[in-house]
């Protein structure tokens, strides 16, 4: 009986697998090419992108691209199974921190040759933006978004505290944050915070890299092969900010990026470091907001960047790939890039589009004109997840009262092993 059942089960399994014929639809010589494009632009920005795609489709007759909108998290979860069965997208937009992993596993196509061509329009793209698309010296994506973290602040709370201009250095920043922290009932816990500083899973994972860079420190070396987090500069940075949070209580502890957003929209904090979307959220919550650059640290004024990348998946055959590259070239054209910046609410990706060109969207203009340097986050690092967790552990424990030197040493060794 056991044998009988085993035979039935195996036969069923085998029959079922053989029954399916896995044949991917190949495209013949010069036939029409249809591509699918997954992206996570779910708001009004998605409509603009869909329109750009429609314009591309209308501008020529060989390629038709169909878009599908999902959230970034859903794309990340569903792309692997879909691609492994050949049912995934041909072009995909993803957050740039995910690009190196997919590139290393060869799920995305090498775009080095594409970048070498003049027709790709990639020469005018911002160098730092392209750095986020580069893995081991080769480009695997085209940037569709690249924006520095900035500070969004509550103008009304600033006015109430009598602060008329936004701080430009760390010391001014902390001083203003102290003025904006109010503990009216004296129970030791402020009802209103000056600046909410998340200590783990920060927005774009970029807050602490920005602060470290402001004091001349870094996480890794330029090539992304060695950990440099365990340095005197970083230790000083951690000390400085831990003191501000613990002693001056300018921020609650144990907060992550999403909780920080909630605090800001609830009006419980005067400042937070965030991305461009906070403008819309603040407006929807009725907050009179302003956007400013992250104040300069002792050594530099630096903000870490959030990036979104467009990649071509390994599912494509040569024809589909050529068609996809055709779209990417179109996307990089100046007129399209300007339209995209205005529609996405993020700064333009081309160096020849200035703040004046995009003043139709004030947020975009502000972000484009922000002072300071924008740096990519861990460009080309494949195992960025472990690196970021190591940073989070160090910062979270430090703000909870730990010893920065020891924490950075531990983080250093974790990061070094993650960098292989």
């Amino acid at each position: 009986m056991k044998k009988h059942i085993a035979v039935v089960a195996l036969a069923a399994a085998v029959a079922v697998t053989l029954a399916g014929c896995a044949g991917s639809p190949g495209s013949s010589a010069n036939a029409h090419v249809d591509l699918t494009f997954w992206h996570g632009y779910t708001e009004a920005d998605g409509k603009v992108l869909d329109q750009i795609v429609k314009d591309f489709n209308a501008s020529q007759s060989k390629v038709t691209i169909t878009t599908q909108t999902k959230t970034w998290a859903v794309i990340d979860d569903t792309m692997l199974p879909a691609l492994s069965a050949g049912k995934g997208p041909d072009i995909v937009a993803m957050t740039s921190d995910r690009l190196p992993v997919y590139a290393e596993k060869k799920a995305l196509v090498d775009l080095g040759d594409f970048y070498a061509k003049d027709s790709s329009n990639t020469a005018a793209l911002k160098e730092q933006a392209v750095a986020m698309e580069t893995v081991q010296g080769t480009e695997y994506g085209v940037p569709s978004g690249f924006v520095p973290l900035s500070v969004i602040y509550n103008k009304k709370l600033f006015a109430d505290a009598g602060i008329s201009s936004f701080p430009t250095t760390w010391d001014e920043w902390v001083a203003d944050a102290k003025k904006l922290t109010k503990d009216t009932n004296g129970d030791g816990t402020p009802e209103q915070y000056g600046l909410v500083l998340p200590d783990h899973q920060t927005v774009g994972n970029g807050i602490w890299p920005s602060l470290f860079a402001g004091n001349g420190g870094s996480i890794t070396n330029a090539a992304g092969t060695k950990s440099t987090i365990d340095s005197a500069a970083n230790e000083a940075t951690l000390e400085y900010w831990s003191k501000a949070v613990r002693d001056d209580k300018i921020s609650p502890t144990g907060v992550d990026g999403i909780a920080a957003d909630k605090l800001f929209t609830a009006g419980k904090t005067a400042m937070e470091i965030g991305g461009p979307w906070m403008a819309g959220v603040a407006k929807a919550s009725g907050i009179d907001y302003g956007i400013a650059a992250i104040p300069a640290g002792p050594k530099a004024q630096v903000a870490s960047a959030i990036g979104i990348s467009l990649g071509v998946t390994a599912q494509t055959d040569d024809q589909q790939r050529a068609a996809a590259e055709q779209f990417l070239s179109y996307f990089n054209e100046k007129s399209v890039a300007t339209k995209w910046a205005l529609g996405s609410g993020w700064p333009p990706l081309r160096t020849d589009v200035s703040a004046a060109d995009v003043d139709a969207n004030p947020t975009v203009a502000t972000l484009t004109g922000l002072p300071g340097k924008t740096v990519p986050l861990l460009p080309g690092v494949v195992d960025s997840g472990d690196v970021l967790t190591a940073i989070d552990t160090a910062t979270q424990k430090s703000l909870a009262g730990g010893d920065p030197a020891a924490l950075l040493a531990t983080a250093g060794s974790s990061i070094q092993s993650a960098l292989r």
């Binding site: 059942i5 029954a19 708001e43 599908q68 979860d77 049912k87 009006g267 819309g280 959220v281």
Partner: protein, 290 residues
């Protein structure tokens, strides 16, 4: 039996009357308090659905809305093809439940009542299959269904769940505990196994079948990963996979709208359970030896 029943009933009512009412009151209050505590998060879900966006993350936080609004419900139907998603959820959960109940009951009967070589091994293999996390088998399953050409179809969505190890295990335990006298007598009379299954075992297993039916329906109704990964076409999704696409400005989830969607999603389940749990009370009298 009836000769004994009257004195027993009398004895029971005497005992009941002798039990002090205060201990019963304490029990009742205890259950009430526990239920209230358990319901608090549920209340939050229900009430948040009626809060305008400005109140959802406001400080100080409130349980009840200051302004009641139906905007979230309107939004859920405009932002998503919600009616279609509800239908899909019914089709998916309902289809899986129907097939699973049938196939699981058949297999459970074989494992519980029919003697054959390897039945123990088969049972262990079935239970063992519960012990591997879905995340590890998701991709092979997806590839298989894709090879069958069933991507984005109901067949592909339902087939992998049309029989499940949990249901077989559950029903098998239940069937095993039913007294054998019932079906042995029928077997001696020459009834076929199918006849016994249909006329004796199934009617006596109503509470278990209802229970398993509810579980299967609820678990598949609320399942996220499988419909999310499997349906790339937005119209084919279920409520749970559809809700993941809800976003407000900047990718921040509009909680009020999501709660409205969740409330609508919970209603059919709650109604279903309310109707079914009555059957539990009714079927007390029909189980066990008479």
């Amino acid at each position: 039996m009836t000769a004994l029943a009257r004195p027993v009933a009398a004895a029971r009512s005497r005992t009941a009357a002798r039990r002090p009412p205060s201990s019963r009151w304490i029990g009742f209050v205890a259950v009430l308090v526990v239920t209230a505590a358990v319901l608090l998060p549920v209340a939050i879900i229900v009430l948040t659905a009626f809060k305008p966006a400005s109140e959802v993350n406001a400080y100080p936080p409130t349980l009840f809305p200051h302004t009641w609004t139906l905007d979230n419900f309107r939004a859920i139907f405009t932002q998503l093809p919600f009616a279609r998603l509800i239908l899909n959820s019914f089709a998916f959960a309902g289809g899986v439940t129907a097939f699973a109940l049938a196939f699981d009951a058949l297999a459970a009967y074989a494992l519980a009542r029919l003697d054959f070589r390897g039945s123990k091994v088969l049972l262990i293999v079935i239970i063992a299959s519960l012990m591997i996390p879905f995340q590890a088998t998701l991709i092979p399953i997806y590839q298989l269904v894709s090879d069958l050409g069933w991507v984005n179809t109901f067949a592909g969505l339902i087939a992998p769940r049309a029989a499940d190890a949990f249901g077989i295990f559950f029903l098998r335990q239940f069937f095993v505990s039913l007294p054998r006298d019932l079906d042995n007598a029928a077997r001696i009379d020459g009834a076929s196994e199918w006849r016994i299954f249909r006329s004796i075992i199934l009617p006596n297993a109503v509470p278990a079948l209802l229970t398993l039916g509810i579980f299967t329906f609820v678990n598949n109704w609320n399942d996220l990963l499988w419909p999310l990964v499997f349906t790339t076409d937005q119209d084919m999704g279920t409520i749970t996979s559809g809700l993941t696409l809800l976003t407000g400005p900047g990718g921040i989830i509009p909680q009020g709208v999501m709660m409205a969607g969740a409330l609508i999603a919970v209603l059919p389940l709650a109604v279903m359970f309310l109707l079914v749990q009555r059957r539990f009370i009714e079927s007390v009298a029909s189980t066990g030896l008479k």
